[in-house]
Amino acid sequence: MLKSESSIENFPTRGLHRFALAVASLTLVLLVVGGLVTSNEAGDSVPDWPLSFGRWLISSDYFVANIRYEYSHRFIAGMVGFSTFILAVWAWRSDSRAWMRKLGWLAFAAVVAQALLGGARVLTGEAGKPFIAVPHALLAQSFFGTIVAIAVFTSRSWWEQSRVKFSAVDARTARLTVYSVGAVLVQLVLGAGFRHRAFGIIPHIIGAVIVAAVLLWTAMTVVARHKGERSLRRPAITAIALLIVQLCLGVGAYLARLAAAGDAQPLEPMISLTVAHLTVGALLLADLIVLMLRCYGSLAPERAEKTFAAPRAEGVVV
């Protein structure tokens, strides 16, 4: 529990935090449009890369049918890449924490790698596509998670932890949150593998059962042990709510996919349910990353110093 309710009004990374939130929001939009590309089978609708039909900007005549999804995906990806570059430079110039400055550049490296993978996806033949598309999906979610982490590290609550004493989170609870984040990431890969036809649905269903168990265990442990700690309880309860929504969307998306077998093209409600399932998966990952980072930030001070970056702790590696 917070021993002091006082808060830092002018924490040093206020602007950077807001910008990170904006980049995270834009990245979520990019994930949604990426889901629309896959669900509409639009990945090959623009045959060239990095240009689109030999141009950076296409005319409205071209902006029809599946090209809308693929070109929007490329355009928003460009915006995310540019925003991430600004974020990295901003962090490099303004953040006093060395590891945070490096984290900004790591995010930029990830978005560059993601663009290259996206290009490889376009230029690869049909047979090799799952081998590019699945890592592309994994890196997309990992990049989103990195931006969310930057938003957490630059937030007021993160700075407050340096001067306000929380009731210390035990290391076991903190570790549970890491397992949850890892399990969700693996599950996102299994989902991407199914969507891109790398393998069947069974691994994703087994993954869903395991993720649900790990996540419920984690969230209930956090809620039980830190009832009074709002900053931990809230993401834990949100995770349970998102999990329920996600499971319903997953079942719905799969049933819609079965019903759509034999259709001439991808149709509703399969498209919307699949994209919503992907989006809630990303939100669940973001929520668990917030929970994980807050748990580690709230570890007993001696433990935190050894295992995780505390604010203003220069040179500590995340």
Partner: protein, 272 residues
């Protein structure tokens, strides 16, 4: 450590990109020298004809939603799938061809006339077609919207090219036999065609009334194969005598016609 991870991520992506963009020369890029002697006609070729029948109630043709492209939506013609096209118990779009016998023993010169695949009303016309190895496949775009033509062969090189309205026809050839190559427009995902590539001219596609005719068949013993994109293959042995006209009908059953949907469901459940 962060720097190391960042470098590793970019390096891995760069390698993936280079592998994808290098497009290594495939073994099937060039024409195949079969070493077969050219077929010498004795003007005693026969003909195989018949009807592809459909037994039972055909599955409903699925609706195509062309609303994503106004040019397609305003195009005429019925907007229904063509996979299982049955008229009065006769099945269209079945690719019928010969294997074995003289068609495999000799080499055949491809016709100089191209085979035309048109993109019309945001559909491929025809839906199923055959070409010979090295015969020109001329692809037209008669629509007022852009298409991309994307064959995904297994034995021939894959390509994916855009074809805006009013542009010149694309002319392509295939160097290896392959039955059949799926062709898709990724801009309009309902647009699908199938191209059969053979080393000889003894093939046909069943018409709306289910009829097919294979002319100029060298006398000999063959396997006559029918291929349907969702109902699969049927085979029968056939002997064609000198100048003989043979009739061979085939029947696809409705129980098989419903299989593709259930098969796709099962495929989704298969473990890696």
């Amino acid at each position: 450590m962060l720097k190391k991870y960042g470098s590793m991520i970019v390096a891995a992506a760069l390698v993936a990109f280079m592998i994808a963009s290098c497009k290594p020369k495939k073994k099937d890029d060039g024409p195949v020298d079969t070493g077969k002697s050219p077929y010498q006609s004795k003007n005693d070729e026969g003909t195989i004809s018949g009807v592809i029948k459909f037994d039972g109630t055909p599955p409903d043709r699925k609706r195509i939603d062309m609303g994503a492209d106004a040019n397609c939506a305003s195009a005429g013609g019925e907007k229904l799938t063509e996979e299982v096209l049955v008229t009065d118990g006769k099945l269209a779009n079945v690719f019928v061809y010969l294997t074995g016998g003289p068609v495999d023993q000799f080499s055949f010169q491809p016709p100089s006339d191209p085979v035309v695949l048109d993109q019309k009303g945001c559909r491929y016309d025809p839906h199923v077609l055959g070409v010979m190895i090295k015969q020109t496949l001329r692809i037209l775009n008669s629509d007022q919207t852009a298409h991309n033509v994307h064959p995904t062969p297994k034995n021939n090189p894959e390509w994916n090219e855009s074809q805006p309205p009013g542009t010149a026809p694309k002319e392509k050839t295939f160097n290896r036999a392959e039955t059949l190559i799926p062709v898709k427009c990724n801009q309009h995902p309902w647009m699908k065609a199938n191209v059969g590539v053979l080393a000889h001219p003894c093939f046909s596609v069943s018409a709306q009334d289910g009829t097919y005719t294979i002319k100029n068949v060298p006398p000999g013993n063959y396997t006559l194969v029918t291929w349907h994109e969702t109902m699969g293959e049927q085979k029968t042995q056939i002997t064609v005598g000198a100048s003989e006209k043979k009739t061979q009908d085939f029947t696809y059953k409705s129980s098989v016609a419903y299989a593709p949907t259930s098969l796709r469901v099962e495929a989704a459940l298969i473990l890696p």
